[in-house]
């Protein structure tokens, strides 16, 4: 990354609305960064988003689009609460975006299913959910293991091998691409300076103002939020934040459009509002390799989808995605503010759609207030040091 001074800066690719110091700035224009930036703009006037180029390790593009509560929080009940709070705020986020842009983001909160395909999976799932919900301090919601017969009423076409599925009414889905589009359209309408091709080289704090060095010159802001996924680690070091994240590959199979028939999404199979189908998801520790799609994983994904809904076997696979999730050590989000650089925050997670509402409507106001409240303590990186000491 170049260390150009303002004097030597290249002509920026897009003119900025605001030339001075921003009230708040987000580094990273994916789902997390864009949701935070949107939320910030509802509180303050001058907001910027610094993004990279067209080809970056864009986790957001591989997103399944679940707004999912079920299964979350084993080992950290606070995460269960956090997820539920986002679920509850999602309609408000969708309404705000629609009001500002006229666009819909495909939010459907009609419940969700986690399928099990044999007796072993059935037993394991009940055990897991029981343990999860039994954790002290865990958020409460109704869940039920539906048997095959009950499933058949809910999902016509369910495969005979699907012995059951855990159902909650709080789960749902949104359209992640429509989300991104709506957020960016909102930026345009509300004059947020979305600046692509502005990778950040250095961050310094001088007299309380953060200075980000980019190839197009230095950009300044009173507050900065790191939301650049896998890049948070490098940037965090510059503002006294140690953010251990690693890439975890996920692959998704995409089917062509069909007439809409699946209205209750599975965690592994859903039909988008416009008719295409998504099949997920894999978890592979494959390093920084998001370009190569592995055939055996696609076969396993396809196989399970066909068992879940046999009628799909004639529908055509048109694409696969391979994207890198941003994984912390324990898989839970990291929200933290810097002790050495007050005003610098980090927000990272791998459930960018589920948590978008919390990011926009809870994290952003916290950033403006200048501090994360104590309730957010479980999400700081101090939890890793505690683990190490133990």
């Amino acid at each position: 990354m170049s260390n150009t001074t303002e004097h030597e800066a290249l002509a920026p690719p897009r003119p900025r609305h605001h030339k001075g110091v921003y009230d708040a700035l987000v580094i990273g224009g994916g789902l997390v960064g864009s949701a935070v930036a949107f939320g910030l703009r509802q509180k303050v006037d001058h907001v910027a988003v610094l993004d990279e180029g067209d080809i970056a390790f864009r986790a957001s593009r591989g997103n399944f689009g679940l707004v999912w509560v079920q299964s979350k929080g084993m080992g950290m009940p606070a995460y269960g609460h956090w997820t539920m709070s986002s679920q509850a705020l999602w309609p408000e986020l969708a309404r705000l975006l629609n009001e500002i842009t006229g666009l819909e983001v495909g939010l459907e909160q009609q419940g969700g299913l986690h399928p099990v395909l044999n007796e072993e999976e059935y037993e394991q799932r009940i055990k897991f959910m029981t343990t999860l919900m039994g954790q002290p301090g865990m958020v409460k919601y109704d869940w039920k293991m539906l048997d095959h017969k009950e499933l058949k009423d809910l999902v016509p076409g369910i495969g005979p091998e699907v012995v059951g599925a855990t159902h909650t009414s709080v789960d749902g889905v949104a359209n992640p691409l429509k989300m991104l589009r709506a957020l960016h359209t909102a930026f345009d309408r509300q004059k947020v300076d979305y600046l692509p091709l502005h990778p950040v080289g250095e961050i310094e704090q001088k007299n309380g103002v953060f200075e980000m060095t980019t190839p197009h010159g230095v950009i300044r802001a009173h507050k900065v939020v790191l939301a650049s996924g896998l890049n948070n680690q490098t940037l965090g070091n510059k503002v006294g934040l140690s953010i251990p994240v690693r890439p975890q590959r996920g692959q998704i199979v995409v089917l062509e459009r069909t007439r809409r028939m699946l209205h209750t999404p599975f965690s592994t199979l859903r039909q988008m509002d416009e008719g295409t189908w998504l099949i997920g998801d894999s978890q592979e520790e494959a390093g920084y390799v998001d370009g190569i799609v592995g055939l055996p994983v696609l076969a396993t994904l396809a196989d399970r989808a066909v068992r879940t809904m046999p009628a799909l076997k004639h529908v055509r696979v048109v694409r696969s995605w391979s994207a890198l999730r941003v994984m912390s050590k324990d898989g839970f989000p990291i929200y933290e503010q810097s002790a050495t650089h007050p005003g610098a925050f980090v927000a990272t997670c791998h459930s960018g759609v589920t948590l978008a509402a919390a990011h926009a409507l809870r994290i952003a106001p916290m950033v403006i207030d200048g501090a994360l409240p104590d309730t957010m303590a479980p999400f700081s990186t101090r939890r890793f040091h505690v683990q190490q000491a133990a």
Partner: protein, 102 residues
Amino acid sequence: MFNRLPEAQQALALAPVVVTINGETVRCRAGDSVAAALLAAGLNECRDTAVKDLPRGPFCLMGICYDCLVMIDDQPNQQGCMIPVRSGMKIERQQGAREVQA
């Protein structure tokens, strides 16, 4: 409208392949693709698009545009230009996005 040259017409007359297109019986030349048979029968369009419900017909004839999609023997979204006609084949317009039979 596409017409057969005499040599092709003779081949058809010698050994016609009989199919139905939208319910009507049509005689084709063995070896013709479904798309070619449609065009020879005077049909420039074969489907309605999934997004805006607009008519489309074969465009590239070499298997890469996916505009020649038709229903063949009740199977939706078949590429007409890549499939040869077969005796008794039922060819129908592909109307928008396909159905999934639950």
